[in-house]
């Protein structure tokens, strides 16, 4: 990725969404991933807020990549990122106060979400604006999808609902621990095992297919 070759929009976008999914593959941005995912709706909101910041900070940093001196690049990136975070924070405080209250400090903490920082450092600083935009969008949506999935699982077991709709049978006694810290860690761990297993099976399948073709 370090080579400044031309990158087209779609592969970069898909790379962020699936191949290098920030949550399941890169293990970035764990705090909000675990902190806010007690309900699917929170996951979506947090994911979209992060995507917004990611897209615009990637874009701006990419545009400024040849202007910012190397030595002060970290404070510079942080200022860029923090500005967008403050914007989305103020926006939510004004228009979605309830959601903002639920997500709490985590919105402010998007600043230190390592996904954004990592993408700025490893992608946007080396790539042209359009590709950076694609990367931000892909990574952001990848992040949104995975934390929504995590949040949905936790909501189903922890509250018996999904996006607020009752999905479990009426007699179901919600497993409260799923909404607490241990539930977050363990659910993510189990999901990660599943993702790894699926990936491995898929890899084996494709290898087998290759071998078949060769044969």
């Amino acid at each position: 990725m370090a080579e400044p070759q031309k990158k087209s929009f779609l592969p970069v976008f898909l790379n962020g969404l699936i191949t290098e999914n920030p949550t399941f593959t890169l293990m970035l941005g764990m705090c909000p991933t675990l902190g806010v995912t007690t309900a699917a709706m929170n996951g979506v909101a947090m994911g979209l807020a992060t995507t917004f910041v990611l897209v615009f900070s990637n874009l701006i940093i990419s545009l400024l990549r040849n202007i910012i001196p190397d030595k002060v690049r970290i404070p510079a990136y942080i200022v860029v990122i923090a500005s967008f975070v403050t914007m989305i924070d103020l926006f939510m405080q004004a228009f979605l106060p309830e959601l903002r209250a639920v997500l709490g400090t985590y919105i402010q903490l998007i600043v230190v979400n390592c996904i954004i920082f990592a993408r700025a450092e490893s992608f946007a600083a080396k790539n042209p604006p359009l590709a950076s935009l694609a990367d931000g969008l892909g990574m952001g949506l990848g992040f949104t999808c995975s934390i929504t999935l995590l949040a949905a699982v936790r909501e189903i077991f922890g509250s018996g609902t999904c996006f607020g709709l009752q999905v479990m049978p009426a007699g179901y006694q919600p497993m409260a621990i799923m909404n607490m810290v241990p539930g977050g860690f363990i659910t993510l761990g189990v999901l990660m095992i599943l993702v790894n297993v699926i990936k491995r099976v898929a890899a084996r399948r494709s290898e087998e297919r290759k071998e078949e073709k060769l044969a």
């Binding site: 006694q173 497993m175 409260a176 799923m178 607490m180 241990p182 363990i186």
Partner: protein, 324 residues
Amino acid sequence: MQKQLAITSCPHIRSRKTTQRIMQDVCIALAPAGIAGIVFFGARAAAIIAVSVITCVLTELVYEKMMGQRVTIGDWSAVVTGLLLAYNIPATAPLWIPMVGGVIAILLVKMLFGGIGSNFMNPALTARAVLFVSWGGIMGSYPVTRFMEQTADGLSGATPLAELARVFAGQATLAEGTGLWDLFIGNCPGVLGETCKLAILLGGVWLILRDVADWKIPVSMIGTVFVLYLLTSGFNFGLSLREVLSGGLLLGAFFMATDYATSPQSNLGRVIFGVGCGLIVFVIRAYANYPEGCSFAILFMNVVTPLIDRYTMPKCFGEVKQHG
């Protein structure tokens, strides 16, 4: 004659103690407490014990079959986990509680980490804590025994520990609470295996005599709780004694704090572990909002165990500094 001879490397004799025998000994030691539970809480207790044990053994069996590993249910450790889990559930709980608990204990806490000896937290206790946090209403309401004054819903108003907490806070006197004898033989509300202290002590003595459990952990743990209550209650001997005999302290100290995989191995480490458990039990009982601190105390010390082990391992005999 010569053909049958086998080459083995020394030592050529092995002690008769096996993992299986140790676990069977624990089961034997646990039997009195279970019987007492059935006597005090009725057939319902037996059903919970059965479901819990069967779930644990089946979970281990199915997991190992699925993973194509060697089946290890023959070592009886799943039975021990099942018994301990059941003993930590109130007899009024629905039967899906021990089922969920059994799966959590064996699958999540034990097998995922590599099976017996590899888990770093006590499976039964962890499962109990998860159940407790998830379904506090079910896990936290204790039935009265069959020999106590019956209540409308069969649940007791105040556990001995709650009574004692009020005594400790100076809001009640000892005389109002459960009698010492009732506490000792188990005629008091509680989870099904923890009430009969006589049975637990019998089992504990068996464990120590059979060289299964190390006395240092239970003694230092119970001793710490006793001494701390003595010191903080102005040397109220009766209160301190009742604190020791209430709740899950004895069951935890003898059967769960002594779990090999989750407690330190060196002598010094075991004393530190026991004192740590006792200290946390005291702090949670006296100051936290959970009425019973025993399981969380042991769990927390389980987590600290690798570090205790790291810093208390014996130095090699004759090791001098410059030989490092």
